[in-house]
C-alpha cells in the first residue's frame, strides 16, 4: 500500500472514531467522496472496534517468563527442548523425546560408540547448584559436577536386574546428564494412576457403600510380585552401602514384561532435602500418552519434589540410613495395596505432620480383601521409630517371600478377610506405644519436651538480617507479590526528602521511584506487582499517586484532604486509605476504585468526632480490612476488623497503648501488629477471630510496621534508633547573645521534658534509658541521675515541680488514657490527681504560683482545653474556652500562657482572674507547644522559621535570636526550661533519629 493512502486511512479512522452512529456514516461518505475501496478499508478497521477491547490487552511478558522457566526445566540451553532432537551430545545421538518432568527431561539416544540404544536423562542444574548435603564426606569434595559424576559412578556399580543400570554420566552445555538402560514400559506411578482411573469409572455407575468396599488397586498377586522385586533391588544396593533416599512410585519402573526397576539410585543425594531428583515421570522408558506429563504441579519449570513418601527422619532433617528407604517403600506398598497414598495433604506441612505423628488409615479399612500378613508387613515398614521398623531390606524381602509361599500354597487366601479382623501387628504396636508412654512419664518434663520437639514445625530456623542500612530513615516496608522485592519510603541520604524506593532482596542498590520534593510515603503494591501506589504530601496538596514498579511516569488518582496510609485490594480494584474528611479530627477508612477514582466511599464511620481510623490493610481474601482505631487526642490505638461488604467493625485488641502498623498472615488467621504493650514497641499477633494477643519471637525492642510476604515466609519491619539529649546554654545577664551549649543530660535513647526545681539545684526530666519512659531527677550539673517513677506501660512525662519543691506532678498513660499524677520529690508511690472520666485524656500538668492549683490539658469536652483542679483534689474547672494546650503561669502568677493545641501555632495568654485571651507570640510554630518558657521580661522559645532559640521581649515586642542549636527540637514533645535565676536554658534536641528495615527469613508464627 502506498504511504500516502495509508496516511489517509489513518486520518479517516481516527476522525471517524470520534463520531458515532449515523454521524460517522455521514462523515465517511463525505470524506471518502465516492472512493469505495477507501471507505471499505476504513470501515473494516472500524469494525474491529468492538472486539479489540481485550485483544492484546494482557502483556505477553508474563508468558515469556514462563517460557524461560520452561526452557530451564527441560534442561535445554537457550533453545527449545525439541531442538535437541537429532543433535549429538558427547557420543550420544538424540533420537526422540521420551518424557519430561519438573526435574528433568529424558531422550532416547543412540550410543554411537557401542551402537546400542540408551536413555539420556538431563538433570536440571538445581541438582548441582545447591550446597552439599551435610553428611557428604570430605573426600567427596570438589566441583558439583565432579560430585555428580562420582555419585553416578557409584550408582553404576550396582548391577542388578531390579535396578535401572547407569552407563555413563556427563555434562552438556552446563547440564549434567546420565546415560542409562533404555526401558520399555511405564512407571509405577502411571500404572497406579491408570488402575485408579479404570476402577473409578466403574464406581461412578455403581457407587460403593462406604470405606469397606474394595478400593481401586492392583491385584494382590501383582502387588506381591512387584514388591518382592523392589525389595530385592533395594537389598542389592544397600549391601553396597548405597541408599536411594527418594523411593516413590515415580522412581519405580515397570517394564512391559512385568519387571520392576528402581530408577535414579544415589542421585537423590545430590538434591536438596525434600526435593527429589525425578519428581516427575521422567523415567528412561516410553510412557503411554494421555497421562499428565510428570508432576507439573502449579506452574511449569518449578522444581517440585514430592514429600509424600518421605520418612520421619527425613522430615526432621536427620541423618538417613537404609531403613529410610524401607519406610518410603512401606508407603509405596501401602499405596499399591490400597490405591490410596499413605500420607497425603494439601501442603507439605500437613503431610509432614501426618508422617511424623499419624498412622495412615488402616489398610484393611480401605481394602478388606488384603491378607493380614501383608498389612502387617506394611505396618512394620511404616513404623515411625526406626528401631521398630524393618532393619534390612533382606528381612522385608523374606517376609514378602514367606507371604508369597503361603499364598501360593493356599495357606493364606487372598481376597478373603481373615477372621481376626485386625492385623497381627496391632497388639505389638500397642505394647510399644505403652512402653514409650511409660518412658515419657518416667522422664517427666523430658517427655513433654520430647513432644514439643516433635511438634516443632519443620524447616530452617528464622534468620533476622538488616534489609536497609542507609543513612536516615527507611520505613513502611511492603513486599512485592512475589516476595522478592520490598518497596519502602526513605528520607534519603541527605535526610531531607521522603521518596518511594524499591529494593530486591540480596541486591544492595535500591531503585528510586519518586523524586518529588514533597513527602512520598506509604507504598502499596498492585497485586500483579506492576504498580505501586503511594501518598504524597507537598506544601500545596495531598495526593494518592500510582507509579510503575519499575519506574516511570506517575499518575495522580485522588486528592484526599490529609496524609495517611494506603493499601491495595487483593483483586486490584480498590485502594483503601485513611482521611480526615468530615471534620478536623475524625478520620475514616475510605475505599477508592482504581479505575474510577471518583468512586470513593467511606468504609468506617468513626463513632465520635475524635476517633481516628488509620492504617487500613486488606485481608488476604479481600473480604475484610484490618485497621487501627484510636482517639485523635491521644496516641493509643487498638486493632479493629471490618467487612468490606459493610457492618460494624470488630475490635480485636484492648490494649489502649501505642500501636505502630499491622498486617495479616497469608491464611487470614492472624493480624500481626506492633504494640507498646510491654513498654516498648514490639510485634504481636492476635487471632483475627478474636483472642488473646501474644508477642512474636522476633521483632521486639522498638520494632514496628510489620509486613508479611504473600507466602508468609518472609517478614519485614522497621527498627528505630534514636537519641535525644538535653543541652545547657548559659544566658549572659543583659546580653543574651551567642550562647554556647554543653551536653548536660545524655544517654542512649530519649532524654527530654526537663524542668528545674524551685531552688534551681535539681533537674527533673524524662528518659527511657531503663526501657520505658519514666521520670528521673539529677543535680543541676547533670550528675547523680535517679529514677523517680516506675509506672507500667505507656508514656510518662512532663514532670513539673510544685512551688514548695515537695511534689512533682506528671502525666502518664499507664491506665490506658492520660492522667495527671503526683509523687513526692523524694520518691515513693505516686497517686492520681485527675479523676477518670471515661476515655478522656489529661496531660501536661503545671502548678499555680501559689501552689494551690494544678493546671492540665484535657480533651474531656471533645477538644483540647486547659483545666485546673485543687492540688489537694476536688472539682476540675475549665479555664480556656477556645482551645488550649500546655499552660504555665507567669512568674508573678497573674497571667496564664498556653499554646492552642498539639499541632497548632501561636502562644496565647489569659488573665488568671479571668478575661479575654490574646495572641502573644505568633512565631511559635505548630507542634512546638513544649518549646517555650516565660520569664519576668519575656519569652524564650524555639523559632522554627530561623531554626534558632529566640527571646521575645515584652517591652519591645521584638524577637532576638540568642542561640543556634545544631539539631532540631523534639516536635510534639516538651524539651525547654529556664532556671529560676534566668541563668541557664535547657534545650532537648534530637541528636539522632534513624530507622532501618529488618528482614526475617524462614518466618513462621
Amino acid at each position: 500500500m502506498e504511504r500516502e493512502r495509508w496516511l489517509v486511512i489513518e486520518r479517516l479512522y481516527n476522525d471517524a472514531r470520534e463520531r458515532k452512529g449515523s454521524e460517522r456514516a455521514q462523515f465517511l461518505a463525505e470524506a471518502c467522496a465516492g472512493d469505495d475501496s477507501l471507505r471499505r478499508e476504513v470501515e473494516s478497521l472500524l469494525a474491529q472496534e468492538e472486539g479489540t477491547g481485550s485483544f492484546l490487552g494482557t502483556p505477553a511478558i508474563e508468558v515469556a517468563a514462563q517460557v524461560l522457566a520452561q526452557h530451564h526445566a527441560q534442561g535445554a540451553n537457550r533453545t527449545s527442548p525439541d531442538a535437541m532432537l537429532g543433535r549429538t551430545v558427547s557420543h550420544y545421538r538424540i533420537l526422540e523425546k521420551l518424557g519430561g518432568g519438573g526435574m528433568g527431561v529424558v531422550y532416547k539416544a543412540e550410543d554411537t560408540r557401542l551402537g546400542r540404544a540408551v536413555a539420556l536423562k538431563f538433570l536440571p542444574e538445581a541438582v548441582l547448584g545447591l550446597p552439599r548435603p551435610a553428611r557428604a564426606t570430605p573426600e567427596l569434595d570438589g566441583s558439583p559436577l565432579e560430585r555428580f559424576r562420582r555419585e553416578a559412578r557409584a550408582a553404576s556399580a550396582i548391577n542388578h536386574p531390579n535396578i535401572c543400570t547407569i552407563y555413563d554420566a556427563g555434562e552438556h552445555e552446563g547440564h549434567p546428564f546420565i546415560a542409562m538402560e533404555l526401558l520399555e514400559g511405564e512407571t509405577l506411578r502411571h500404572l497406579l494412576l491408570r488402575q485408579k482411573g479404570k476402577i473409578e469409572k466403574g464406581a461412578s455407575i455403581h457407587p460403593r457403600p462406604g470405606a469397606n468396599g474394595a478400593a481401586p488397586t492392583l491385584p494382590f498377586e501383582r502387588v506381591l510380585d512387584l514388591a518382592i522385586q523392589v525389595a530385592e533391588g533395594l537389598d542389592a544396593a544397600h549391601q553396597k552401602g548405597i541408599i536411594h533416599r527418594d523411593i516413590k512410585p515415580a522412581n519405580i519402573f515397570v517394564t512391559e514384561r512385568g519387571q520392576a526397576k528402581i530408577l535414579d539410585f544415589g542421585l537423590a543425594k545430590l538434591a536438596p532435602p525434600g526435593q527429589g531428583v525425578s519428581a516427575g515421570d521422567s523415567g528412561p522408558g516410553k510412557t503411554p500418552d494421555g497421562f499428565p506429563a510428570g508432576e507439573w504441579v502449579s506452574s511449569p519449570g518449578i522444581a517440585v519434589g514430592t514429600t509424600d513418601y518421605m520418612s520421619p527422619e527425613q522430615v526432621r532433617a536427620e541423618a538417613v540410613d537404609q531403613r529410610t528407604d524401607l519406610f518410603s517403600f512401606g508407603a509405596v506398598l501401602y499405596e499399591m495395596a490400597t490405591g490410596r497414598q499413605a500420607f497425603a495433604g494439601d501442603s507439605p506441612g500437613v503431610i509432614f505432620e501426618a508422617i511424623l505423628n499419624h498412622a495412615p488409615t488402616p489398610a484393611l479399612d480401605i481394602n478388606s480383601s488384603l491378607p493380614a500378613e501383608l498389612v502387617h508387613i506394611i505396618d512394620k515398614a511404616l513404623e515411625k521409630d526406626r528401631q521398630l521398623r524393618y532393619q534390612t531390606a533382606a528381612d522385608l524381602e523374606a517376609d514378602l517371600h514367606r507371604l508369597k509361599r503361603d499364598t501360593d500354597s493356599g495357606r493364606v487366601v487372598a481376597g478373603l478377610r481373615p477372621d481376626r479382623g485386625r492385623p497381627q501387628g496391632a497388639p505389638l504396636r500397642r505394647v510399644a506405644a505403652i512402653a514409650l508412654a511409660a518412658a515419657a512419664l518416667a522422664l517427666g518434663i523430658g517427655g513433654v519436651m520430647g513432644y514439643r520437639y516433635f511438634r516443632k514445625p519443620p524447616g530452617p530456623p528464622m534468620r533476622v538480617v538488616p534489609f536497609t542500612t542507609f543513612l536516615g530513615q527507611q520505613d513502611e516496608a511492603r513486599f512485592s507479590p512475589d516476595g522478592n522485592q520490598i518497596a519502602f519510603s526513605w528520607d534519603g541520604e541527605k535526610e531531607d526528602n521522603w521518596d518511594i524506593y524499591v529494593k530486591l532482596i540480596g541486591v544492595e542498590k535500591p531503585l528510586r521511584l519518586t523524586t518529588d520534593p514533597g513527602e512520598d510515603t506509604s507504598p502499596a503494591w498492585s497485586p500483579d506487582g506492576r504498580y505501586i501506589a503511594f501518598r504524597r504530601h507537598t506544601d500545596s496538596e495531598y495526593g494518592i499517586y500510582v507509579v510503575p514498579a519499575l519506574g516511570g511516569p506517575q499518575r495522580k488518582l485522588h486528592a484526599p484532604r490529609t496524609s495517611g496510609s494506603l493499601d491495595w485490594s487483593p483483586d486490584g480494584k480498590y485502594l483503601a486509605y485513611d482521611e480526615a474528611r468530615l471534620g478536623q479530627q475524625d478520620t475514616s477508612i475510605f475505599l477508592l476504585a482504581v479505575d474510577n477514582p471518583e468512586d470513593n466511599r467511606p468504609l468506617t464511620t468513626p463513632p465520635t468526632p475524635l476517633t481516628r481510623d488509620r492504617n487500613p490493610r486488606f485481608s488476604p481474601d479481600g473480604g475484610s480490612v484490618a485497621f487501627l482505631r484510636g482517639l485523635s487526642t491521644g496516641e493509643t490505638y487498638d486493632v479493629h476488623v471490618v467487612r468490606v461488604a459493610g457492618g460494624e467493625p470488630k475490635r480485636l485488641t484492648f490494649g489502649n497503648v501505642g500501636v505502630g502498623g499491622l498486617d495479616w498472615t497469608p491464611d487470614g488467621a492472624y493480624v500481626i501488629f506492633a504494640s507498646e504493650r510491654l513498654g516498648e514497641l514490639g510485634l504481636w499477633k492476635v487471632p483475627a477471630s478474636g483472642g488473646e494477643p501474644e508477642p512474636l519471637s522476633v521483632g521486639q525492642a522498638g520494632s514496628y510496621g510489620p509486613s508479611l510476604s504473600r507466602d508468609g515466609r518472609r517478614l519485614a519491619y522497621t527498627v528505630r534508633s534514636y537519641n535525644s539529649n538535653i543541652w545547657r546554654y548559659e544566658i549572659h545577664p543583659g546580653s543574651r547573645r551567642n550562647m554556647l551549649p554543653t551536653k548536660l543530660i545524655a544517654s542512649a535513647r530519649f532524654n527530654l521534658s526537663q524542668q528545674f526545681s524551685p531552688d534551681g539545684k535539681t533537674i527533673v526530666f524524662c528518659s527511657d534509658r531503663s526501657g520505658s519512659t519514666q521520670v528521673w531527677v539529677c543535680d543541676s550539673d547533670g550528675s547523680n541521675p535517679l529514677q523517680l517513677t516506675s509506672s507500667g506501660g505507656g508514656m510518662t512525662g512532663t514532670p513539673r515541680w510544685s512551688p514548695d519543691g515537695r511534689q512533682i506532678a506528671f502525666d502518664s498513660d499507664e491506665e490506658g488514657h492520660g492522667g495527671v499524677y503526683l509523687v513526692n520529690a523524694e520518691g515513693g508511690r505516686s497517686r492520681r490527681l485527675t479523676t477518670a472520666t471515661g476515655i478522656s485524656n489529661n496531660y501536661v500538668p503545671s502548678w499555680s504560683r501559689d501552689g494551690k492549683w494544678v493546671y492540665f490539658t484535657s480533651d474531656r469536652t471533645g477538644a483540647w482545653q486547659v483545666w485546673k483542679m485543687p492540688a489537694e483534689g476536688g472539682q476540675a474547672v475549665q479555664v480556656t474556652k477556645k482551645g488550649g494546650f500546655a499552660a504555665f503561669e507567669s512568674p508573678d502568677g497573674k497571667t496564664l500562657y498556653y499554646a492552642k493545641g498539639r499541632n497548632a501555632p501561636g502562644l496565647w495568654r489569659l488573665p488568671v482572674q479571668g478575661g479575654e485571651e490574646t495572641l502573644v507570640l505568633e512565631q511559635l510554630g505548630a507542634g512546638l507547644w513544649g518549646y517555650w518558657a516565660v520569664v519576668q521580661d519575656g519569652i524564650y522559645f524555639y523559632n522554627a522559621n530561623t531554626k534558632g532559640i529566640g527571646f521575645f521581649n515584652f517591652a519591645t515586642h521584638k524577637v532576638t535570636e540568642i542561640a543556634k542549636p545544631e539539631k532540631a527540637p523534639l516536635w510534639y514533645n516538651p524539651g525547654f526550661a529556664v532556671s529560676p535565676d534566668d541563668r541557664w536554658l535547657l534545650y532537648a534536641e534530637s541528636d539522632e533519629h534513624t530507622s532501618h528495615i529488618m528482614l526475617v527469613e524462614n518466618f513462621h508464627l
Binding site: 481516527n14 474491529q48 479489540t52 492484546l56 519430561g100 530486591l504 516511570g552 507466602d711
Partner: protein, 193 residues
C-alpha cells in the same frame, strides 16, 4: 559471563541517540541475562514459587544498567529492549511448539490468555509476528507501539517516552494497530472480517 554494566549502559545510550545497530547488540546481552536470572531463580527458589516477569526485568535492569536511578529515559529504553527479547522468545517458542505438536509432552502454555483472538484456533504468536512484520512495512511506528505495549508491557507513557511522541499519539497508534492486526489475524476465519 555477565555483560558489564558499562557496556549495556553505553549501548543503551547509543540506541537512545539513534544508533540502530546498538539494539542488535543489546538484545543478545539482555536475553542472556534474563535467561541466566530465570535459571537462577528456578534453581534456588522454593517450590510453589512463581517466576514474575516484571521482577525479572527489574532485576536484569538493576544488574545490567549502570545509571542514575532516576534516569527514566534509560529505563524506558531498557524495557524496550526487553520487549524485543520477549517477542523473540515467544515467537521462537511458538515455532518450535508448532513443529513438534505431536510430542504432546510439552505442556501447552495458555497462549489464548495473552493473545485473545476470540478463541479461534491456530492463531498464535507466529501469526501475530508475521502480521506485525507486515505492519512494520506499512507503518513501523505502529508495529513498535504493539511490540512495546504487548510484548514489553510498557504503559502508554513509557511507550511515548521511548518513541519520543505524545501519549495521545501512542493511544491512537495503539487503537489503529490493534484494529488492523485483529482484522489481519481473523481474515479467513469463520466470523472474521
Amino acid at each position: 559471563m555477565q555483560p558489564s554494566g558499562q557496556a549495556v549502559t553505553q549501548l543503551l545510550q547509543a540506541w537512545c541517540q539513534g544508533d540502530p545497530s546498538a539494539l542488535e547488540k543489546l538484545v543478545p546481552l539482555v536475553y542472556q541475562e534474563l535467561y541466566r536470572l530465570a535459571r537462577r531463580h528456578m534453581a534456588t527458589e522454593r517450590p510453589s514459587h512463581t517466576l514474575q516477569a516484571t521482577a525479572l526485568v527489574h532485576e536484569a535492569y538493576v544488574r545490567l544498567v549502570e545509571s542514575d536511578h532516576t534516569h527514566f529515559k534509560n529505563r524506558a529504553h531498557f524495557f524496550a529492549v526487553c520487549a524485543q527479547v520477549m517477542r523473540r522468545i515467544l515467537v521462537d517458542w511458538a515455532r518450535a511448539h508448532e513443529a513438534t505438536k505431536r510430542g504432546g509432552e510439552v505442556r501447552p502454555l495458555k497462549l489464548e490468555e495473552a493473545l485473545v483472538v476470540e478463541s479461534k484456533p491456530g492463531r498464535d504468536f507466529v501469526a501475530l509476528d508475521d502480521a506485525l512484520k507486515e505492519l512494520t512495512a506499512l507503518d513501523p511506528r505502529k508495529a513498535q507501539v504493539v511490540e512495546l505495549r504487548f510484548f514489553g508491557g510498557l504503559s502508554v507513557e513509557e511507550t511515548a517516552e521511548v518513541l519520543q511522541v505524545a501519549p495521545v499519539t501512542v493511544m491512537r497508534d495503539w487503537n489503529l494497530a490493534r484494529s488492523w492486526l485483529r482484522r489481519e489475524l481473523t481474515k479467513g476465519a469463520p466470523g472474521g472480517a
